[in-house]
């Protein structure tokens, strides 16, 4: 579809309403089955032996004692698993991946990497057997910082890829003429920015179960966002046709992006099951979700921008270096998306960007909500506040002046639809009476003079779909049953975002049946149509449109069928709330069930249709307004109030959309203030791989959030203009906090997390 297609307006019956989510009924009763709840007869338990060294060659590995341990059924090492080089992040239609992983290698590239796997009759026995595996290492020099890894002569972590520890060739984007831009500038701002290593810390630890049947077919339960990707890569690496791999995932306990790799333990689980001819379950400990899971890429950003005295941005020069960790995983995708994102947000005609992604001997970084953009927009948005300061302007005014507008070229290369960001900003300014907030009395409360208060704004835009990095495809199959109910088959994963409910709403709305009459089948790669996976905020946009297309087709067939039975022409009929009636004569009607069902001489109808949608991209927008309180004696920052204003086009399920925003804000407050997965810079060991020292904001830390959702810029590419919302909130909240801290205490921070120690140190340097 292109942007000139008008968005159909109609009076909605189901879309836009917060209908009850069926999946949630199972969740509140405890019946919902997650992968870890599955128990098969004779099931063994797998555990992984992890290296306690960051970079080494395995000289020898002796598993004889482990194999002899009572209850142990199999042990795998690099010596007895297939040696196939594969992608960790196998986006099947993306050109941007690097094949750099083996199931098990004779080399260790980070502290915590798996070097062997055991299957035993109980988890405890498997765990105990790990200690009996003797590994002799030849230590190799290790690098833990991208700066060090990029130095000439640095130890090389891989022999694939472009060399120099680069994961991919530098990503370069040039628009306009940057030098000419700087020449016109009245002043130039230049700064370096950096981001830590936040972890998605989904509540359900990674888990999978493998079971082979007598025909050599693998059934594989796993907690994944991308079951078809797992199917594809398992088949490729294990040398099986796709008919011999069936991936199942019903409910999953969160992913936030990070569960879209094919993980080492997934291959090992399948191989242990094959070796023992028994089902094998592998479940991460919480510690393993950190060490062997995926975190956000730490990033260093250098940003130089030229401004005119009227606030116009005339040049942007930016370099980003992402730390990939020991393997490529999503490094290429993140680098491309994060770098190209910086062409936009605030309009600038002359842009020069360079993004690099570098291997280090640290745990693997992968996809996490905000995918590279958290890092780049943190820099853009904070420097915009600095420019406002320099100009003596209210940052709100400068941002309003410069935010992207309809028709501007988006990072994807497409013109932007609608003035979404401008409208969000203006809306927040109005509802909060921003001017009076800026001009408020700033004298501290005499009873608590050490508490300083501040307000800040953060802006963002984010695409639904990974285009142009990946040419995406959404699929849906809709069947109408003979009793008038409808079955939707979708490959989209149920992460908990309410996507299946939204898809059912779309089908019901388009088809003209009741929401309760639509059932959703998902989570079985043998049954549902191919799906790219749940990521890039695209499920509603991409699969939603495919579902709508399929529903349009079945609707036409249902009307044909009814026309035959009612002896009229199909185009004389209409269908609403499960009733088919003659438009001109609403008294003449039949139910969908009557149309579908058998009658004398006519069997029941079989109506099935597929929808396939290959879109480009839409952009959602947000401006967050945030109040912080800073304790100038302890350095503790409390986020008190957040007013997030989002444009997500047509809202399908308001409560689910709000929930996405509030959850994203929690994670964003976390990475901006308290969350950082810390790797020891001397050894590469994890220092806080657990939920007490990895500090997510909890119930007592969360501010009041007053979510505002606008339908300001519906995108014709999504169902009735719907766009994504999953990733947006986590991007805008960070700079809004950093900017609010500046407003409170007059100190600028260019990094996250901003710790209490950072606050005290900066206040001291400022001479407060």
């Amino acid at each position: 579809m292109n942007i000139n297609t008008p968005i159909e307006e109609r009076e909605f019956k189901i879309v836009g309403k917060s209908v009850k989510r069926d999946d949630v009924l199972e969740k509140v009763t405890g019946e919902a089955e997650y992968t870890g709840d599955v128990k098969l007869a004779g099931m063994l338990h797998g555990k992984i032996k992890r290296a306690a060294i960051a970079h080494a060659r395995i000289k020898s590995i002796d598993v004889s004692k482990a194999l002899a341990y009572p209850g142990v059924k199999a042990v795998l090492t690099h010596e007895n698993v297939p040696r196939v080089l594969h992608y960790g992040s196998p986006h099947p239609r993306s050109a941007s991946c690097t094949k750099d992983q083996y199931i098990l290698d004779d080399k260790v590239r980070f502290w915590g990497e798996g070097v062997a796997a055991v299957a035993a009759i109980s988890e405890e026995i498997a765990d105990e057997a790990l200690d009996l595996i003797e590994v002799e290492y030849e230590a190799l020099p290790a690098v833990f910082e991208p700066e060090d890894a990029a130095l000439p002569g640095a130890p090389l972590i891989h022999d694939v890829g472009p060399g120099g520890n680069l994961v991919l060739d530098p990503v370069r984007v040039n628009r306009g003429d940057v030098e000419a831009g700087f020449a016109q500038a009245d002043f130039i701002l230049e700064g370096t920015f950096s981001g830590g290593r936040p972890h998605p810390a989904y509540m359900e630890p990674n888990v999978c179960i493998a079971d082979w049947d007598g025909s050599n077919k693998l059934t594989f339960w796993t907690s994944t966002q991308t079951s078809f990707m797992v199917r594809g890569i398992l088949a490729e690496v294990l040398g099986l046709p796709l008919t011999k791999v069936r991936v199942l995932v019903d409910h999953m306990g969160g992913g936030f992006g990070a569960k879209q790799d094919c993980f080492q333990h997934e291959f090992l689980c399948a191989l242990l099951a094959k070796e023992t001819r028994r089902p094998v379950k592998m479940e991460f400990t919480r510690h393993e979700t950190f060490v062997a899971g995926r975190a956000r890429h730490p990033c260093k950003v250098w940003l130089k921008q030229g401004f005119k005295n009227d606030g116009t941005l005339v040049a942007r020069d930016m370099k980003l270096v992402y730390d990939s960790g020991a393997y490529g995983s999503h490094g290429p995708g993140v680098t491309i998306v994060g770098t190209t994102a910086a062409t936009s947000l605030y309009r600038c005609e002359n842009v020069r960007l360079e993004g690099r992604c570098v291997y280090t001997n640290t745990p693997i970084n992968g996809a996490f909500r905000g995918y590279g953009v958290v890092q780049s927009y943190y820099a853009l948005d904070i420097q915009m506040d600095e420019a406002a300061e320099r100009l003596g302007m209210d940052p709100a005014d400068l941002k309003l002046k410069n935010v992207v507008r309809a028709g501007d070229i988006a990072p994807s290369g497409h013109p932007i639809v609608g003035h979404g960001l401008e409208i969000c900003l203006q809306h927040g300014i109005d509802v909060l009476d921003w001017k009076s907030l800026r001009n408020r009395d700033r004298t501290p409360d005499p009873k608590r003079p050490h508490i300083r208060k501040g307000w800040g704004i953060g802006c963002e835009m984010h695409g639904s779909s990974a285009y142009p990095g990946i040419k995406e495809q959404g699929n849906a199959t809709v069947k109408v049953n003979e009793d008038g109910t409808v079955t939707l088959l979708t490959g989209a994963a149920g992460l908990g975002t309410g996507a299946h409910t939204a898809l059912a709403q779309i089908v019901a709305e388009e088809l003209g049946v009741r929401f309760e009459d639509v059932g959703v089948i998902h989570g079985d790669t043998d049954v549902v149509p191919w799906d790219i996976g749940a990521f890039a905020s695209h499920t509603t946009y991409l699969v939603g449109t495919a579902a709508k297309m399929a529903a349009t087709k079945v609707r036409a067939s249902v009307l044909e069928r009814a026309a035959m039975k009612l002896q009229v022409k199909a185009d004389e009929l209409d269908l609403s709330e499960g009733k088919i009636f003659v438009t001109a004569e609403p008294g003449r009607f039949m139910s969908v069930a009557e149309a579908m069902g058998p009658s004398r001489g006519i069997p029941a109808a079989n109506i099935v249709a597929n929808g396939t949608y290959e879109p480009t991209k839409s952009y959602s927008f947000a401006a967050h307004f945030t109040e912080v309180h800073v304790d100038t004696e302890t350095g503790i920052v409390e986020v008190k109030r957040v007013v997030p204003v989002h444009d997500i086009g047509r809202v399908i399920h308001p409560i689910a959309a709000q929930g996405q925003i509030e959850g994203g804000i929690q994670q964003g407050i976390g990475h901006t203030l308290t969350e950082d997965y810390v790797i020891d810079k001397k050894t590469g060991r994890s220092l806080n791989a657990g939920l007490v020292d990895y500090k997510m904001p909890l119930s007592m830390d969360m501010p009041d959030i007053e979510t505002i959702i606008l339908e300001a810029a519906p995108d014709p590419g999504g169902p009735w203009g719907a766009k994504g919302v999953g990733e947006d909130p986590i991007i805008a909240i960070g700079p809004s906090i950093a900017n609010a801290i500046y407003d409170a205490i007059g100190v600028r921070f260019h990094h996250y997390p901003i710790t209490p120690e950072d606050i005290l140190k900066a206040l001291r340097e400022k001479g407060a």
Binding site: E123, E124, I125, D127, E128, T285, H287, E633, T634, G635, I636, L673, T674, V678, L687, N688, G690, L691, V692, D693, K695, P697, L698, S699, M700, D701, T755, P756, E757, L760
Partner: protein, 287 residues
């Protein structure tokens, strides 16, 4: 997780024997909130645990005006936290109890276990030390009572010998015009292990501080007293300048380390800030 064997004891004597006879890697099992975590995270090698929860007489809580509060080894943090008596007379202890872990953890964790684990950051220890608590120790040969301040010998280390069991803790009663405070510092408001914890217990006599004890958590190998800071305060009216100089003194008296939770310098700074705040809060409470 690693397997271990479980032994339920019915008397102190039996528990004590099991602890000595089952050999190394045998540990007393109380609420289990430290022990089970250490087993699961492979921080401690454990072959046997000896559960004392079946031993009668270890769950009592008593109070009288002369001896003060005595509670047994099995008394959970949650149970003590919910007692009105503790809220009224030992507000410092009560704040420490209410800040320990979560409600769920507090329903299992015991105060005695928190003390016996001897973590420098344990929340219940600073207020108990500031209040001058002592600890009752059972042994098959000689029972003893030890001032809590003398109980710890290092991080995770106490004066307990193999087979000795703590049966309870006594906290002296609060005098008239006394004031108490415990301030825990962490980056979250709950589910935090203290980066610094400061407890203050003081008595005022006609506007003059007649006695004061300051205990500092998480800034040394054990919970520390700050005797020099206390000396500065004793006999003064606790005016702002004196409090400030005592707080500065406490910063000199502590010996923090750096780790992933905070740097030594930051911890030292917080000792200064929180000592000042805790003294002020205790003073207000004494009025």
């Amino acid at each position: 997780m690693r397997r271990f064997d479980y032994h339920g004891a019915e008397t102190l004597e039996q528990a004590s024997r099991l602890l000595t006879d089952l050999g190394d890697d045998t540990f007393l099992f109380n609420g289990g909130t430290d022990l089970l975590v250490e087993i699961r995270e492979r921080l401690r090698r454990v072959r046997n645990v000896v559960d004392i929860k079946g031993i009668p007489g270890l769950s009592d809580i008593t109070y009288d005006e002369t001896r003060g509060l005595t509670f047994g080894a099995l008394v959970t943090v949650g149970r003590l936290e919910r007692l009105a008596l503790v809220r009224e007379r030992y507000p410092n202890l009560r704040d420490a109890l209410a800040s320990l872990g979560s409600i769920q953890v507090r329903n299992r964790a015991t105060v005695v276990g928190n003390v016996c684990r001897a973590s420098p950051s344990a929340d219940t220890i600073p207020p108990l030390i500031a209040d001058g608590a002592f600890i009752h120790i059972y042994s098959r040969t000689n029972m003893r009572v030890v001032p809590l301040a003398e109980f710890f010998t290092g991080p995770g280390k106490t004066v307990l010998a193999k087979g000795e069991i703590v049966t309870g803790i006594t906290v002296p009663p609060a005098g008239d015009n006394s004031g108490k405070a415990y301030i825990k510092h962490g980056r979250r408001k709950a589910m935090e292990l203290s980066t610094v914890g400061v407890a203050v217990s003081l008595s005022m006599d006609d506007g003059v501080c007649s006695d004061i004890r300051i205990a500092l958590g998480a800034v040394g190998a054990t919970v520390l007293r700050a005797p020099a800071a206390e000396a500065i305060l004793r006999g003064t009216r606790l005016d702002a300048a004196t409090v400030k100089s005592a707080a500065d003194k406490a910063m000199e008296e502590c010996t923090p380390i750096s780790n992933v939770r905070a740097s030594a310098d930051y911890r030292r700074d917080m000792v200064g800030v929180l000592t000042g705040r805790a003294i002020t809060q205790a003073l207000e409470a004494s009025a």
